[in-house]
Symmetry: C2
Subunit: 276 residues, 2 copies
Amino acid sequence: MELWYTEKQTPNHGITTKISKTIHSEKTDFQQLDIIDTNQFGRMLVLDGMVMTTIKDEFVYHEMITHVALNTHPNPKKVLVVGGGDGGAIREIIKHPSVEKAVLAEIDGRVIETSKQYLPEIAGALDDPRVDVQVVDGIQYIHDHKNEFDVIMVDSTEPVGPAVGLFEKGFYQGIYDCLKEDGILVAQTESPWFNQDLIRRVFKDIRSIFPITRLYTVSIPTYPSGLWSFTMGSKKYDPLKVNESELKDLDTKYYSPSIHKSVFQLPKFVEDLVKE
Amino acid sequence: MELWYTEKQTPNHGITTKISKTIHSEKTDFQQLDIIDTNQFGRMLVLDGMVMTTIKDEFVYHEMITHVALNTHPNPKKVLVVGGGDGGAIREIIKHPSVEKAVLAEIDGRVIETSKQYLPEIAGALDDPRVDVQVVDGIQYIHDHKNEFDVIMVDSTEPVGPAVGLFEKGFYQGIYDCLKEDGILVAQTESPWFNQDLIRRVFKDIRSIFPITRLYTVSIPTYPSGLWSFTMGSKKYDPLKVNESELKDLDTKYYSPSIHKSVFQLPKFVEDLVKE
């Protein structure tokens, strides 16, 4: 018998991928959590029926939510990830020698534990001594910490269920206050093909708070449409004004100093979403 | 009853999309040809079970197989499209005022006729007086014409069935001979995620023939992995040496002078495919 996992990424469209084995399945306090082994993308973490990450393409998301900001900030020492319980963003963050402390604020402890158990390639870095894992509501954590972080990444699930509050203007204002005076925010902001209203709104919200706001895109085959966006809000440093030849060359498979600026060059229909 | 069209883009992975209506279905002399109306991407042309183009995202492929080369060549007058029976590449080519003649060499006349009938937004330009539609084997056409074209685009189906010969080194040598002394070739070369061996081989073949060889990528949600590559071989003009401020700004939704160079900045794992 052939088993296929099908995700309706919109009511009318989705991906379907062959499964070799279901590894784990549970209902946590916050969401449905499944781990499956797929033939095409290897092991896959699924939350509430949406692919979060896979062994074969996770490097794109995790490198690109982290290194663009961390190579824009001249000396990031203290970094916060809101969400991101699989640990992939943390793994990338601690590749930067300047980082002294990386805090993970994940609301669902079961995502962390399950990832450690079944996705050690991604979650292994959560045991690094520089990492502080907090099982906590990210909104509360942001509220309780002021003027503390150099870079904050919002590594959320889709804007339904537990993550709705992570796409609201008040949350971005809280992040602004939680950042130091030259801090940088990066948020995952969905697909430029399928989530245009969300991208427009979030960009506008972040631009109303941060002096420098930029959108960039990357290719993630298991995410809806295959094209994904991140929105950066920065208090001082402009990612387009770095000197590429001075950027740190990291152990990466997608990010490189030579694409640091080019990911901000958007297809015309995407550029039009964020025009003033 | 809900109908969904599912394409296995690899033996283990694919897309599935909701159909509102099947418009047309036939077996031509060369391939199975289907036109379906989908909820997410509008009307869709499917050949041998593979999505060729859809109303909602066709602009990416058609703009990006044409304008990068046509804005690299300083004065393209005579342009050839091998394949491309839907007419989308031709529609973009004749947006360039310098173009005096655009030849379409498509082996399957039924693709042309069916596209004209059911996809007029894409195929309408085939009736333009500058366009010469030839129902002919592209390989034969290339063989019969020497030193004639400024730009040649290989707008083929996947490298199975009728299109196999369009991915072979001898064919690229034929194109070299069919181009004028400063001509440019662009070929669609599949997905950097799923077709890495093909990209490596074609790049090597084209580089062994043309002095300037470059790979670029674009986002096409209905194509496998959502990321698509094109390989350019050029006798004289380097797409990276154009003056962006002098490039023609066209009526486009994806291409713009400001992404002309950045599409050649590749993610590290793609760059590694074509490193010497």
